[in-house]
Symmetry: C2
Subunit: 214 residues, 2 copies
DNA sequence: TAGATTGTTAATCGATTAACAATC
DNA sequence: TAGATTGTTAATCGATTAACAATC
């Protein structure tokens, strides 16, 4: 039934995968059901079954889903049955935190290159990786046919770098800069601006308890 | 028309606000239109007008929206016309990066407290803030009536802390731990797991260029 | 077998878009 | 005025949910 998968469905698969992996690690059981998974995640069981049905039939009536089998299938669907090398651009606070983060390894990614435009930083090691000059970025990415970058540079520099990335094989950008990026349609962009997430929640906060009101 | 605002509409308002603020800073013009704003953001002009119409009438036929006025209105709608004190929990790599991040100040937030469970870290200064023992977290949050936290602790510790937060005035959690949190319905949770964002994009990557396939 | 749970269909629900009268 | 753009309505589009036959 692989025809036209809604992106919103794709967006839930990593959530399912993460929950299933946690189940597998805790390892109480070999199987789970759409009901149990949905309960954990606050998602309806019907939605989980519908989402999975876009890709095939992974369960058994009466018993549900074999956890490890479903994990393996989701990894294949999402192309996570390999390790994606990722270039990290920007060696500031966020770049340092990401380069040192050990949560990528077992989830399909490896920070393979680290670039910064500050000559004083070039050559320094961060998370076992040498900082390379940004002037070499395009050449390196093209040579390595890299498809994904994490962009952790100041807002003012982000669009210019995105323009350079458009000249490479890059097709996915995780953008930490608090600015919208304009890119050609073949490049996917996901934004990671914590303030946007926080501002989305203040709407619901109790303003009678608010401090610092002016 | 303030009756039942869809959360998906709320989610776009901070995006609009960020783009408008950038426009105001660059300061070429005093007004903009739903068409211009939508073009920048890849959103239809009709959607922008519809979203705003939930809250009032902010534009003028023929001329569009006064940028600074719309910014002010959005800030009021989102309760950003004040400074929200936020507790940061976890002083690891991410906690350090966030505590040192200077992008909160002008967007409605201030990291006011920093907690960690490592006695060796307690007392150290990070981003001008002393690390406090996690054992004092609940008491401090209750005394200060804090409503928002950023949770940057290991996955294994996140749910336990969330349970403690449920005993306080906290109503919003920005969760950096790569695990789903179960919280009472009055607490809003937004997740910030970069790997989830990255895994969502690999579906679209060119697997013929993929490295490390097994 | 009896109970449980899938995959799928059809109905419902909600969000987006097109179009346009109103009007600056 | 003429052109531009709003706010809103109705139509369209898409996503979620309820229900159930199939079957392990």
């Amino acid at each position: 039934m692989l025809e036209e998968i809604p992106d919103i469905v794709i967006g839930r698969l990593p959530i399912y995968l993460r929950a299933l992996t946690n189940m597998a690690v805790n390892g109480e059981k070999l199987t789970t059901s759409s009901h149990e998974l949905g309960e954990r995640l606050g998602i309806s069981s019907a939605q989980i079954r519908k989402d999975l049905s876009h890709f095939g039939e992974f369960g058994k009536q009466g018993t549900g889903y074999h956890i490890n089998y479903l994990i393996e299938q989701l990894r294949q669907i999402l192309h996570l049955d390999r390790e994606w090398p990722v270039a990290l651009i920007g060696a500031g606070h966020i770049g340092h935190a990401l380069a040192s983060y050990n949560g990528f390894q077992h989830r399909g990614f490896r920070i393979a290159w680290l670039f910064d435009n500050d000559p004083a930083k070039v050559g320094q090691m961060v998370g076992g990786l040498p900082i390379q000059p940004i002037t070499e970025m395009v050449e390196t990415l093209n040579r390595e046919k890299t498809q994904m970058v994490v962009l952790a540079v100041p807002a003012a520099a982000a669009q210019e770098i995105a323009d350079q990335l458009a000249q490479t094989y890059i097709r996915a950008i995780l953008n930490y800069a608090p600015v919208h990026l304009n890119v050609p349609p073949h490049i996917h962009v996901r934004h990671n601006d914590p303030v946007i997430q926080m501002q989305r929640m203040t709407f619901y906060l109790d303003t009678s308890l608010a401090v610092g009101s002016r």
